[in-house]
């Protein structure tokens, strides 16, 4: 218990002193996870909407696979991306291994199924509501998806935030493809793993508290920003 308090105090001191090392890794954490969330939302949200609106033969299989992929083990994804990006791999020439870009790629693979699946579930219910109306109004397929994405934007935000939550706390994949290199690919989670391994529990805990604070801050920011928009109180 004592160590927890020491960790909290340590965290406060690091933040208070504007510790440059802390800001660097916290900044990279945020950059990688927000980047991954952005890309995953670009792919996952329209995919979820498309799955909600369209009926096709393999739909159930696709949705089952998507839901199963939500539980994808990050270590396996990391390994997979590592093999693809390593020197001898198919994308080795790009030289992306051990860069933040590789970390974003790995996290996109991990969180896109989460974003798409949550978006699909939310929009499926909305589509059940809107179905007859949009067909009756003769809306094109693109217009239907647009209406769903816009009117379901609150639920979609929740989907993106769930993806972000998974990304910011993820360590297995970015450890493998990023390599936890100081000043290059070290982020909060990999630093915590490293410091814990070195027995530096105080510092590890401090970083942990910063990580939690960061996650809360991002969520608060998003909620604050969306509440300024008066048109959507649903």
């Amino acid at each position: 218990m004592n160590e927890l308090w020491q960790g909290l105090a340590h965290a406060a001191r690091l933040i208070w002193d504007f510790d440059p090392g802390l800001w660097e890794i916290a900044g990279l954490s945020l950059q990688v996870s927000l980047g991954a969330t952005f890309v995953a939302s670009l792919i996952g949200l329209p995919l979820g909407a498309w799955l909600a609106v369209n009926r096709f033969r393999a739909r159930r299989v696709v949705i089952a696979i998507l839901n199963a992929l939500m539980g994808l083990p990050p270590v396996v994804v990391g390994l997979f991306v590592y093999v693809l990006l390593s020197r001898s791999g198919p994308f080795g020439v790009l030289g992306l291994l051990f860069t933040p870009t590789a970390m974003v790629i790995a996290q996109v693979i991990i969180i896109t199924p989460i974003v798409a699946s949550i978006a699909h579930q939310a929009l499926r219910d909305l589509w059940a509501d809107y179905h007859d109306l949009l067909i009756s109004l003769n809306a094109s397929r693109g217009q239907r998806i647009k209406a769903l994405l816009w009117d379901g934007r609150r639920a979609l935000m929740a989907a993106s935030l769930a993806g972000f939550g998974r990304a910011i706390g993820e360590v297995g994949a970015i450890m493998i493809v990023g390599g936890n290199i100081d000043h290059v690919t070290r982020v909060l989670t990999t630093a915590i793993a490293l410091e814990t391994g070195k027995g530096q529990f105080g510092l590890a805990l401090a970083l942990g508290f910063v990580l939690i604070a960061l996650a809360i801050a991002v969520n608060l920011c998003v909620h604050f920003l969306s509440r300024t928009e008066r048109s959507g109180r649903w």
């Binding site: 509501d129 109306l133 067909i135 009756s136 109004l137 003769n138 009117d151």
Partner: protein, 237 residues
Amino acid sequence: MVASILPLQVDALTLRRGGRSILGPISWVLAGAGITVVLGPNGSGKTSFLRAMHGLERINQGDLRWAAPMDIVRAKQSFVFQTPILMRRSVVECIAYPLLLDGVPRAQAHMQASDAAIGVGLGAVLNQPAQVLSGGEKQKLALARALIRAPEVLFLDEPCANLDGRSTRDIETILADARDAGTRIVMSTHNLGQARRLADDVLFLYNGQLVEAGPSLILETPTSPELAAHVNGDLLP
């Protein structure tokens, strides 16, 4: 109107669901002007008939032949559901939505929608979320939205079910105005009084069959025993 989509030739229209025939075969012609009221007890196929003509149902047999190509037909008809389907938007945005689909600029669409909302008595709630309206207001919104494209044919499925007298009268006024403006209206109702007030002609459906059709006069002198019983308020088996 440039090229009319009417007449609509309904030819042996048949709907089957779950291996059971729920409608038809029905043959009928939708033409001319005025209001056609579709009567019949629950489960007689009124809703299915209207939805099928609007193009919302898969037709198993028979034919619907409009006088214009389908893309024009779809653009020139609209439907008011028994339970209004409201988008999660404000009143004015809901009414403007069909115009936005047609590519009308947002400002102009909103202006037109505001006028339409005021026209149906929703002027005071323009910017409120549509979901918080009362039942009567929701149905008026649905009507304003259905009329915003100035459709040639308007289908309504029991638009006044569950509404009180005042809302019903408001809606009947809007419908009569739309008819006078040249909109061909086909509506179903359970309310015989409403049928007498609005109908130019009447269809009576029973067990998925078109039992009797004719001018509104048939409400007073029905020829089929089923319609006679329905008009007298007897319960059909």
